[in-house]
Symmetry: C2
Subunit: 372 residues, 2 copies
């Protein structure tokens, strides 16, 4: 329960904790409702068991997220909209959930593309369905369709929520644009994997560009935009502000994620250290290292990344080169500068000092304290 202790209020932690408790069960409830067959007709008895497996998998795949995006949307709305009717806040809660449902949809397809058997420590959706129906081909097909169903579900959640909020049409448009941006980002992410390593400046530029489309779009820009629109801000102004704050913040978030993959403990990110290097992922870190490396080190790095896979020694050597070339420091500088840009944009929003402080705090969750 939310305490009325002024210290809690000052810290702003209580709202966020409460919001998380509200969001989590609501996501599962919405996913169960909207991945099941609609009430427009019956499902034949013989087909119900498979339908139930898909709905159960939808719920299972929806669990375990950090809910950073929904929390940013809902916290920003609470800060910007102030006291609103319960119905309007309920609509905003669902809209925040829609972003998380969209993320699950994207991850389900991402795991099929990457042929990943694991997600958040559990079997990935298509892998779990392969096991459930004892068929690789049918299980993968069901996984692909589950991604489709979830992608449609999040738009339907948005449609229902937006009809109960101001800026209805702009909200629907913003959500669809976000979805399109991420899908384009996934295409560009695949394109980066085919980018030659011989031109590191182009690679750094391309990687940052992918971050804008694939990550910043739905992680920070859309949550802020949806909150601003739902709080009644004019669409043009809302887009301008969401981009000014959310674009650098989203880039910083992804850069920090990539940096933690190299320097962080596996406890922090839930992934083994150097996983991106092992997979041969083309990151800004790699581009910065290639840019700063001398001829011999550059040739070494290119040779390591042009192999089909990398062993422990090669991962260790890469981390050594990321450090010695200054690529890690360069990323720290990039992150700090982007966070500064985002803070400055928040300061320009014409909020009272309390609102500005709370919004800064909500945004700060996307950048680890040591990197701000």
């Amino acid at each position: 329960m939310c305490s009325s202790n002024p210290v809690d209020k000052l810290l702003g932690m209580c709202t966020t904790a409460n919001n998380r408790e509200i969001i989590e069960p609501r996501i599962i409830q919405l996913v169960r409702e909207l991945t099941a067959a609609p009430a427009t007709d019956e499902v034949a008895d013989a087909l119900k068991p498979v339908m139930e497996q898909v709905v159960d998998q939808a719920a299972s795949s929806s669990q375990g997220g950090k809910r950073l995006r929904a929390l940013l949307a809902l916290d920003a709305f609470d800060i910007l909209a102030g006291d609103v009717t319960p119905d309007r806040r309920d609509a905003m809660i669902d809209l925040a959930c829609a972003i998380e449902v969209f993320q699950t949809a994207a991850l389900v397809h991402d795991d099929i593309i990457d042929e990943s058997d694991l997600r958040r420590g559990k079997p990935s959706a298509h892998h779990a369905l392969e096991q459930a129906v004892h068929s690789g081909a049918i299980g993968r097909g069901l996984g692909l369709m589950l991604g489709d169903i979830l992608a449609t579900a999040c738009i339907e959640i948005t449609r229902r929520s937006a009809s109960r909020l101001p800026n209805t049409d702009a909200l629907n448009e913003a959500f669809l644009t976000m979805q399109r941006e991420v899908e384009i980002g996934q295409v560009l992410d695949l394109a980066v994997e085919m980018t030659p390593l011989s031109n590191p400046e182009a690679l750094a530029n391309a990687s940052l560009n992918v971050f804008r489309w694939k990550t910043a779009s739905y992680t920070t820009i859309a949550p802020l935009l949806l909150a601003l629109l739902a709080a009644g801000e004019s669409p043009d102004q809302a887009r301008h502000c969401a981009l000014a704050v959310g674009r650098p913040l989203g880039l910083a978030f992804q850069l920090a994620d990539d940096l933690l993959d190299v320097v962080g403990s596996s406890r922090n990110t839930g992934k083994p250290v150097g996983g991106d290097i092992r997979e041969g992922k083309r990151t800004v870190l790699l581009a910065d290292a290639l840019s700063a490396a001398d001829t011999a080190d550059k040739a070494d790095l290119i040779a390591i990344f042009e192999e089909d896979c990398r062993n422990d020694n090669q991962v260790a050597r890469t981390i050594e080169l990321f450090t010695s070339t200054g690529a890690l420091d360069r990323s720290r500088e990039r992150i700090a500068a982007l966070w500064g840009e985002s803070r400055k944009a928040i300061a320009g929003l014409e909020l009272n000092s309390e609102a500005q402080r709370r919004l800064t705090e909500a945004c700060a969750r996307f950048v680890p304290e040591s990197l701000r």
Copy 2:
């Protein structure tokens, strides 16, 4: 060009031919616009070539359809709405195109699930992209994402169109429900493939149920519903009428498609005769044959369909059994009865006799004349 000859008008052929000429280029235009990156940001130069390949493939995959669904939507609108402003008709044209874009999205994913290399006589989207980027894994990934992008695009087209038509929210809801129904239908279609052949009544029932979700939903029910709503009909009444006319019509369409696969010439359907049998597809024809067969024939059929693939002799033997058991005649009876049901529902719509005749004609295109 549309002639003013009264015989042409009487036949109603002119409008349909003209509508087809309007729809075709508009689909390509919308697809090119909405599969490209949105104007919200730049795409890095190094990544543009792949983005262009995806947009070109989106356009290519969008070509060659019969446009039956868009034509039904637009013809029904013209019949029901009468004279409207050019802007309202343009909005309805785009809404009709959205159904075709959705179909392309669904087919792109369907081809990945079925591992089909061909579609409409050309390489399927994922297969073409595999060849274009010289990588199976990345090409398939791009194909999967292209399906996602097209699925989002058709909803954006709908959003823009619906905002210029009456019943805006009901139109958006109807489109999303259609999309969800088809996606559920694809899941159920995969489930049917796992249904045992030992209970043919359950199989016939399950197959017809899949037709409702996977085919009737977007082939006949949604085109009629979108037309009725865009013409200003009340949502409840529109849903009731679209279902009454479109449900039996869509089932008849799919039954006829399956029947033509067995008895039709490859010229008519663009597919080799017996293709469904060769693939081992669980159809209503198979269920009806199993129901009516004597013990020996039933065992024969089950043995043929439980194998991994079927040769020419087995296909011929199956067609023989579909004929001798009366399954083909049973399907003809089913189709005629469903078409009769659809006609009766049209007659109950309280249209003037000219509108009733034209709507009957628009619906009749879904059932070959010899089977009505």
